[in-house]
């Protein structure tokens, strides 16, 4: 008994703390909401930066060997021209930044962090200190990546995939890429452990697994992918670091000749080993990019159709199955490596199978629109655009998943078009939908509708202007890795004129983001004040707490869920929605 008393006493003492000061409140905060916002802002800045790198690349593709206007002053040594080595840096860092520093931190770090505890009725994440450590580890990783541009020889330039042997012998920016990646992996392991424990342990009373909002399910599966797939890249990064710093030959084959001289290494390594380890991470990573987007789109669609999601259970089982399958499809990125037809047969079979759950989710979302009186809000516009854009991205992936057709399309612009349709007008549009949808949750104010339309329509137009012609160029056989966009290849001449069109679309897409940036900051201070639940939503983050939620603990009282997440237009109910914690 004495032991129990002592414990209860200690409990009070441990949790009796003062209000944190400026640093504790805004910088080294342990509140999941602040950390979510930190993640969100950092990731948006990285997205803009990564996008800027791409806009520079598009200059070189459209006007190769010509000085770039304005920005050219930054690199005087080449007379303002984007030389091939610099183009390679831009390409490698664009991919790295968009995937690892932009989208994943935004989709998981920001949306997941802010919303998961609120949607499951938890006072915070299970491990607030680890949550903080996760953000700062990500931040350090990002700074290391950015700093690598100033390393001797420039930033990493072996593609975002860092294939050896080139990456093994690349300048020192590659070592910084590896160090940056280690920090990002630590961040992701800390974060994903935290998410899984939070979702399993901290669900509010009555919130059973099949009553979880689909967004939470998406984050749950995503976290498992991050937790179990990233270590493979960690192992690969350690091995490559040994190659670069300790002179080992994990990825260097015997007798490798560089610039006419045989490398003085022990040899005996395998470049293919890197590809296996890398894609063991990077294919699940593709689903890390898309699953949170599914989650956001599902929430936005349910809310704006005022109907329950069609086939909620099928969607949950589909993404669970997808999570498992994503670990056995990685080598469909490697059909052209000579790994053998038996391997190719296996991996193309699993690849065809994994397309099924994605189709189930997409079909369920489209059928959810059936017969609804849709509210065409700005988030809903982005969500509606997501559906066909992701469908294009997904369907164009099928020819790449089949070895015979992949032989023709491998490493062409077709591949670039395919995955950008999944990630850019797919995932990034979902992120925009999420930002417009949950902005009132964070601030108590709504974003401007007019600026939202000015953002959506040009973005939708120009993003297709960039990526649609890539399929045409790709099918003509234009390689994705040329700094001059194919100008020096005769087979590319017939499709070369698309380059200026695509580049102009890219720069106009950049301009189309200005209304969004203005909207974001303007609405924070001047946006229209709205109530706690402006969209009339059913899930706990809207229905059971204020906007913005309480700084400590989110809820005045932990709610008890009594129904599923999407009870919209329930017959006999007084309103067209019934919150999860309310009896009808």
């Amino acid at each position: 008994m004495a032991l129990v008393d002592e414990r209860a006493h200690g409990h009070h003492e441990a949790h009796h703390h003062e209000e944190p000061g400026f640093w504790g409140k805004y910088v080294f905060s342990q509140d999941h909401k602040v950390i979510g916002i930190q993640y969100g802002f950092t990731a948006l800045v990285f997205l803009l930066f990564g996008f800027s790198l791409m806009m520079m690349m598009r200059w070189s593709l459209a006007y190769p060997n010509q000085p770039i206007p304005l920005l050219g002053k930054l690199f005087k040594t080449t007379g303002g021209i984007i030389v091939p080595e610099f183009y390679n840096q831009l390409g490698a860092m664009h991919g790295t930044i968009m995937v690892f520093l932009g989208i994943v931190p935004l989709a998981v770090g920001a949306f997941g962090n802010y919303l998961v505890p609120l949607q499951i009725g938890a006072p915070d994440m299970a491990f607030p200190k680890l949550n903080m450590a996760s953000y700062w580890s990500y931040f350090v990783g990002g700074v290391v990546m950015l700093a690598s541009f100033f390393a001797p020889g420039g930033a990493a330039q072996s593609g975002w995939t860092s294939y050896p042997p080139l990456s093994d012998i690349a300048p020192s920016g590659q070592t910084m890429w590896l160090f940056g990646m280690l920090f990002l992996i630590i961040s992701s392991v800390l974060g994903s452990t935290n998410f899984i424990v939070t979702i399993i342990q901290l669900r509010a009373p009555g919130l059973t697994w099949m009553r979880l909002p689909f967004f939470v399910w998406a984050q749950f599966v995503t976290s498992f992918l991050l937790l179990l797939a990233f270590p493979a890249l960690q192992a690969a990064a350690i091995l490559q670091m040994m190659d670069r710093l300790a002179g080992t030959s994990f990825f260097l084959p015997s007798g490798l000749v560089v610039s006419g001289q045989q490398l003085a290494v022990s040899g005996g390594g395998s470049p293919l080993l890197w590809q296996h380890l890398f894609w063991f991470l990077a294919h699940p990573e593709v689903y890390v990019l898309i699953l949170p987007a599914f989650g956001i789109i599902a929430e936005v669609i349910a809310n704006n159709t005022r109907k329950p999601l069609w086939g909620y259970r099928s969607m949950v089982w589909a993404i669970t199955f997808l999570g498992f399958m994503s670990f056995i499809v990685w080598a469909h990125h490697m059909f052209m490596t000579g790994m053998g037809t038996v391997m190719s047969t296996f991996f193309q079979t699993t690849t065809m199978i994994i397309s099924i759950p994605s189709v189930i989710v997409l079909t369920a979302l489209i059928i959810s629109l059936w017969g609804a009186s849709i509210r065409y809000t700005v988030p809903m516009l982005f969500a509606l655009a997501f559906l066909p854009m992701f469908a294009i991205g997904g369907l164009t992936g099928l020819p790449l998943g089949l070895a015979p057709t992949d032989i023709h399309l491998h490493d062409t612009y077709y591949v670039i078009g395919h995955f950008h349709y999944v990630v850019a007008p797919g995932t990034i549009f979902a992120m925009f939908a999420g930002i417009y949808y949950w902005f009132p949750k964070l601030t108590g104010r709504s974003m401007s509708n007019l600026l939202g339309h000015l953002h959506f329509w040009p973005s939708f137009l120009f993003i297709n202007g960039i990526f649609m012609p890539m399929f045409i160029q790709g099918m003509a056989g234009v390689s994705r890795r040329l700094y001059d966009g194919g100008a020096s290849y005769s087979h590319a001449q017939g499709v070369l004129h698309w380059n200026t069109f695509m580049s102009a679309s890219a720069w106009l897409l950049g301009l189309a983001q200005i209304p969004f940036i203005i909207n974001l900051f303007w609405s924070m201070w001047k946006g229209k004040k709205v109530g706690s639940n402006p969209w009339g939503a059913t899930t706990l983050e809207w229905a059971a707490t204020t906007s913005p939620p309480l700084a400590h603990g989110n809820f005045t009282e932990i709610p008890t869920a009594v129904r599923g997440p999407y009870d919209y237009s329930l017959p006999g109910a007084p309103q067209d929605f019934v919150p999860q914690h309310q009896e009808a």
Partner: protein, 198 residues
């Protein structure tokens, strides 16, 4: 604000937060070491016949056997320290966790001696692919041992004062630290035969 199930287990899962957390972390660690072991297998099976160097050419099996015994002993003392807390015997807890820490020191000394003789004979990671994977795997394992020793050292020393204020939470902490320590031990039990004997 209190985070639920920080100390007491959640009824439907039977776990407190940190215990689930450490199991998930260890799952991630299994994937890390699994990837490295797979790399070892692929590099070794992919080497042209007769070119692969074997551990017995370079490595000291008696020393590694000694280290295996030390680590297994340390796992036993780790469990004993946790069990002592469960039995409310703080003095024994300190004794056993201190012994666990000392076992870690012993392991590192033997490992340092082994590394030293390799370097002395001119065997470095760059010498051949076997030594490369040997130094990478054991080096990473050593980092894990050091990490565990920092945690254990903290709980023997300054961290132990939590026993007076929150004994149940402190006992949980030792259990979690123990799970990690057993994992580090287990990794070595895989490393020993694959690197030294096969």
């Amino acid at each position: 604000m209190d985070i639920p199930y920080n100390v007491e287990p959640r009824p439907d899962t039977g776990l407190y937060n940190a215990k689930l957390g450490i199991w998930l972390f260890l799952a991630s660690e299994v994937m890390l070491f699994g990837a490295l072991f797979s790399s070892y297998v692929l590099l070794r099976t992919g080497a042209p016949p007769g070119t692969w160097h074997h551990g017995r050419e370079f490595l000291n099996v008696p020393m590694a056997t000694l280290n295996t015994i030390i680590l297994i002993a340390s796992s036993v003392t780790m469990v004993m320290s946790w069990a002592s807390l469960k039995l409310n015997d703080f003095k024994k807890f300190r004794l056993y966790l201190g012994l666990t820490f000392l076992c870690g020191v012993g392991f590192l000394c033997v490992k340092a001696y082994e590394y030293g003789t390799k370097f002395h004979h001119g065997y470095f990671p760059k010498s051949n692919t076997f030594l490369a994977i040997y130094f990478t795997l054991t080096g990473l394992h050593v980092l894990h041992v050091i990490g565990g020793m920092i945690v254990n050292g903290y709980f023997v020393g300054p961290g132990a004062k939590m026993w007076r204020t929150e004994p149940e939470r402190f006992t949980n902490r030792i259990e979690v630290a123990g799970l990690y320590w057993h994992f580090v031990d287990l990794v070595w039990i895989f490393l020993f035969p694959t690197l030294y004997l096969l």
